[in-house]
């Protein structure tokens, strides 16, 4: 097997040094009763050729193999990934390295992540960003735990029901065993978080609102901040579409204490939902409360600039049972990817791409309205919006997939049972006017 370099001679010589006669002898400390007596029941090994065939067949069973027109977002976005990104991130010095525990030979990763942290703080208008988390949902759950740890008298977190449904489920998973409670805040008929419901609550440590929210609408973050301040609780905001900050006023501008976000839009392929990129940012005051790795700048013995992992005493390998989080590996290579992407699009590119996302979504909404869909809400949105579809839409939608490889929106009923025939549409810079016109034509 090509990954196993040992020749028979090698094995003989090495066994001799260990004082054993066979490879089986190396496992003498395993009680015989526990040893597996039969071969593992796995498929016969495939050659590289056969593996390619097998995987090609599997990949062809996914409609994505054909290249489809995607009008769905909901936490996973179809953006153009420039050719240099996969090229650079596949450099094995980045990909096959591990956590930078020996900083002298990890300056590539460390400087790259330091630059990532910096660009994320620029993007979000916050003081500090960590080196990444698994995804927005888990980063948001960590933010909830930070708020609950800082306010020992509170045992609840208020979470808007327009936070991504999966993220709310994750928060619930994390909070329950620790004895905390997530209080769901409903939304108004205008499609925004009902802040009046928050005013009435007691014993909460923080308020979490997603903006742009799951319906695509831009929330009134200034009002959210006011409510949080009046109740002396932490203001947490989240987002699933990172490119929104190329156009919209960022969370830092509204005084957010903590921000959790999804960075998949920053040069990372959708890949059936993972790995994505969890972003977590906070104010300077919360520096020592942030979970996960942090890269800091320092100097070496010659006075040269260099980078190291720092503030490690927050983390599990030092604090152990007193650590605020158990996170060890994060999504490092995806953070590098995002840094490369942000460097590539730059200040000019992010503005233009964000504008195009918004412009195309507005156009899509207008042509769908003309085609007979009902625009349910009248809120400013970024690149996603909700439409009520005509009665026969479900079949049409399936036809559109099978005949035109077009995914026309996401059915919202499984997430919000009262919203029957409501669909969440998304338009990114990748969809063309032609495709949007075609969709409208088919729907009408």
């Amino acid at each position: 097997m090509r990954y196993l370099p040992h020749t028979q001679e090698d094995i003989k010589e090495m066994l001799a040094v260990t004082g054993r006669t066979s490879l089986e002898d190396l496992f003498d400390t395993i009680p015989d009763a526990l040893k597996t007596k039969t071969d593992l029941n796995l498929p016969d090994p495939l050659t590289e050729w056969d593996l390619n065939d097998h995987m090609e067949k599997l990949a062809s069973d996914n409609i994505a193999c054909k290249g489809y027109t995607c009008f769905i977002g909901a936490g996973s976005y179809d953006h153009h990934i420039p050719a240099i990104i996969p090229y650079l991130v596949s450099r094995s010095e980045f990909a096959t390295a591990y956590t930078p525990y020996q900083p002298e030979v990890s300056q590539g990763t460390l400087q790259g992540i330091y630059e990532f942290q910096t660009m994320v703080t620029d993007l979000l208008g916050m003081d500090i960003a960590t080196a990444s988390h698994y995804d927005c949902g888990t980063a948001l759950a960590e933010c909830a735990l930070i708020a609950l740890r800082k306010n020992k008298k509170a045992d609840k977190i208020a979470v808007s029901d327009l936070v991504h449904p999966s993220h709310r489920q994750i928060i619930d998973t994390y909070l329950k065993p620790a004895g905390f409670e997530m209080v769901t805040i409903g939304h108004t008929k205008e499609g925004l978080t009902d802040l009046s419901a928050v005013e009435a609550l007691d014993g909460i440590a923080g308020l979490a609102v997603q903006s742009p929210n799951f319906f695509g609408h831009i929330e009134d973050l200034a009002a959210c901040k006011k409510v949080a301040e009046s109740k002396k609780i932490l203001f947490i905001t989240s987002f699933t579409e990172a490119l929104a900050w190329g156009l919209l006023k960022n969370p830092g501008a509204f005084g957010a204490d903590l921000v959790a976000g999804e960075g998949q839009s920053l040069g990372i392929a959708k890949t059936f939902g993972g790995p994505g990129l969890g972003l977590l940012a906070g104010t300077a005051k919360l520096m020592r409360d942030l979970p996960g790795r942090l890269v800091g700048r320092t100097k070496d013995t010659n006075g040269e600039d260099g980078y190291v992992l720092t503030l490690s005493t927050r983390e599990q390998h030092i604090r152990r049972e007193k650590a605020s989080s158990n996170i060890c590996s994060n999504n490092g290579l995806n953070a590098m990817t995002a840094a490369m992407y942000l460097s590539t699009i730059g200040k000019i590119g992010i503005r233009e791409i964000a504008r195009l996302n918004h412009d195309k979504a507005v156009y899509l909404k207008s042509v769908l309205t003309a085609a007979g869909c009902e625009p349910v809400f009248d809120q400013p949105f970024f690149n996603e919006f909700v439409m009520k579809a005509p009665k026969n839409f479900k079949q049409k939608r399936t036809e559109l997939i099978n005949r035109h490889c077009m995914f026309a929106g996401l059915d919202l009923e499984p997430f919000y049972p009262q919203l029957t025939d409501h669909y969440l549409f998304c338009a990114t810079e990748k969809v063309t006017r032609e495709q949007m016109d075609q969709l409208a034509k088919e729907v009408a």
């Binding site: 490690s312 005493t313 030092i318 007193k322």
Partner: protein
């Protein structure tokens, strides 16, 4: 790491099993970590302090001291209310290494029971404990 005989252990303070020192002056008890503790920890990068006004019982955890690779909790040698915290430690945590009995003091406490100081060790007893 220093040898036990090279440690700086003043006569005029009391010692605890957690390698802290306590000195009573005019009704206020000043508390810090001793030379053994600072030497073991290495270069200190951060001291987590309580708030003025916080009250604790003896043996309660009131803060912590961090080096790059380790965290050491701080425990109250006596019960009482925090009267002052050493704010210089925020910008210069290294004071604890350089001058642990004077400039590197950590908190000052108004004791709730003056008798508790008697339960602490003097230098000789502390040295016994270290050597044993």
């Amino acid at each position: 790491m220093k040898e036990i005989n090279d440690l700086n252990l003043p006569e005029d303070v009391k010692y605890t099993k957690d390698h802290e020192w306590a000195k009573s002056e005019e009704g206020i008890v000043t508390i810090g970590i001793n030379d053994y503790a600072q030497d073991q920890l290495g270069e200190i990068v951060f001291v987590e302090l309580p708030e003025v006004g916080d009250t604790f019982s003896a043996e309660d955890e009131f803060g912590s001291v961090e080096s790059v690779k380790a965290v050491s909790e701080l425990y109250m040698p006596i019960s009482g209310e925090v009267a002052a915290v050493n704010e210089n430690l925020e910008d210069a945590p290294e004071l604890v290494n350089e001058d642990c009995y004077q400039g590197g003091w950590i908190i000052k406490v108004k004791p709730s029971d003056n008798a508790e100081m008697n339960a602490l060790m003097d230098k000789a007893a502390y040295l016994e404990m270290l050597k044993g």
